[in-house]
Amino acid sequence: MKIFEMNKSDAILFLCFSAAILAGPILLTPIGAGYPDLLQKFAIFGIFALGFNILFGLTGYLSFGHAAFLGVGSYTAVWTFKLLSMNPIPAIILATVVGGLFAAAIGFVSLRRSGIYFSILTLAFAQMSYNLAYSVLTPITNGETGLQLAQSDPRVLDAAFGRDYGAVLPSPDFFGISMSGYPGFYFCAIMLIICFFISMRIFRSPFGLMLRAVKSNQNRMNYTGLNTRPYAQAAFVISGMFAGLAGGLMAVTDPLAGAERMQWTASGEIVLMTILGGSGTLLGPVIGAGAIKYFENIFSAFNEGILMNAFSFLPESLQHLAVGITSLFVGEGWHLTLGALFMLIVIFLPGGLMEGFNRIRNRFLKRSGDGSGGTADTVPAAAE
């Protein structure tokens, strides 16, 4: 039966995924993304999206406030660095735990409602967190400037083990390995691989099946003797923990936590990442996260000089025309590309990028199979 074969294919998927992530610095260099900071962001937002997908992809509950958990994770991690130790392990553990607790509280209230009412409740909580963190809670969050490390922080655990950082501002290190640059990426990458494994287990587990049942038909679940609330609540907390971990890792690779991380636009971004990649699929959210971060960091960096260079093979008049048109979409116009991309994806590939990959694969398989294929449905799925 198909259902039993999955173990083998899952193992292959997992190994391929891990290999691709670990080889990221080499694989992504040709497209200009092979530098530590962006690689770290890929991994971190990959974790965030994986967690969000457990809630949204499986149970269908659309949270518009997940950035709050990311932000809380970041603040927790920076405070851990300040008070306990510069080692990232306590920081990410506490970030995960606090992210989960925060999610438990917000989820407990928000999950009393469903549909758009649930979305607005999560949005409201996240916006309250953001607004307060930005202003009134400045003693805890350092407001607009963001929570930073200081040379004079107590770092109780480090002090207990006799670690002294001298006059320089310390930065997080994993038993002597600095957490910036490539080591920081590999630390995040390993976390991502662990999270991917966890996410895969959840997808294949009876618990995961129940979550998909929540999305499909809550009524039937109730009359089948299943209590939907704790399932949704558990999914909410798990995704909050993933978000907390992602926030913690952001602080590990770059020890600063700002309030804007919690703004609704940041929550919206994770929704977009998940849908763009393909919600409810294992791999999609990670791909979606990568795509958006790539646009944000690479497309925004193109200026006219670079474009002139890129089109230098054209005759001069055409070169100017090409640069004129392209420059609308890159550099200061990168948002335009992003907006257009959202529209194109959702119009032509309702299942996200994963659906695109699957179509290409199916087409390829069909072609090589009987040569008669290629009838994959590529027109926009009109609703009527």
């Binding site: 099946l209 049942a213 499909s216 039937r220 009359y223 003797g225």
Partner: protein, 251 residues
């Protein structure tokens, strides 16, 4: 011995007395049909059994425990399963998954955080679900998406989802509505087989062919009141029943 007893149940919706002092005893191991004209309160009564509605007054006792004031999933866990008028299934999931979910619910209770196990590794649950699908004739479609089934198949799937839980009491709300005759007969056969296993059933049905092929006992509901309760052979001659239906039914 009665497994479900309904005493003095009343339910009003605004100005409408939907249920008027209903009393009912369902004997264990029997098939009990509830018939009556449209709007008689049949579905309302059923809803009172599963926690979807709360009666204004009266008691509903199942297996010695009250069913009032507890949530639908708790009622199900005591052994009551329900088939709906329009099939309630997990449309996006496969047939196999649709049947495995109730199987898990029966084994693991209302909530279990089994996030590390593997559905694929649960071979006895799988076997149970496949057997059940086989029972209702859907085994070869086990990997299809439920939404794509025909209406009759959806109904059979829902029945399988209820039966895999081995309920003590099975409530069926018009199980053959909208089915072709052949399908209806298949369903009657299936229900007969279920009845032979000793499952108590309460059936709401319009199709008298179904009612008379299955029921051990029939209650007739009209305007929220039980106007007759008798063996099938006696019901046909009951003048109250004839009046209630006013020749509107194929008695």
């Amino acid at each position: 011995m009665s497994i479900l007893s309904v005493e003095n149940v009343n339910k009003r919706f605004g100005g409408l007395q939907a249920l008027n002092d209903v009393n009912l005893e369902i004997e264990a191991g029997t098939v009990h049909a509830i018939i009556g004209p449209n709007g008689a309160g049949k579905s309302t009564l059923l809803n009172c059994f599963v926690g979807r509605l709360e009666p204004d007054t009266g008691t509903v006792t199942f297996d010695g425990k009250s069913l009032l004031g507890i949530k639908p999933h708790e009622i199900n866990q005591t052994g009551v399963s329900r088939v709906f008028q329009t099939p309630e299934i997990f449309g996006e999931l496969t047939l196999l998954e649709n049947v495995m979910i109730p199987a898990f619910a029966k084994r693991d209770g209302a909530f279990t955080m089994n996030a590390w196990g593997s559905v694929a590794g649960e071979s006895d649950m799988y076997q149970k679900a496949m057997d059940m699908l086989d029972d209702v004739g859907l085994a070869e479609k086990s990997n299809d998406i439920a939404e794509q089934l025909s209406r009759g198949d959806k109904r059979r799937l829902e029945l399988a989802m209820c039966l895999v839980q081995e309920p003590k009491l099975l409530l069926l709300d018009e199980p053959t509505a909208g089915m072709a005759r052949a399908d209806t007969n298949n369903t009657i056969d299936l229900m007969k087989r279920i009845a032979e296993r000793g499952v108590t059933m309460v059936v709401i049905e319009h199709d008298m062919h179904v009612v008379f092929s299955l029921a051990d006992k029939i209650s007739v509901l009209a305007q929220g009141t039980v106007i007759a309760e008798d063996l099938p052979e006696n019901i046909k001659g009951n003048p109250k029943v004839q009046e209630a239906y006013l020749g509107g039914a194929h008695l």
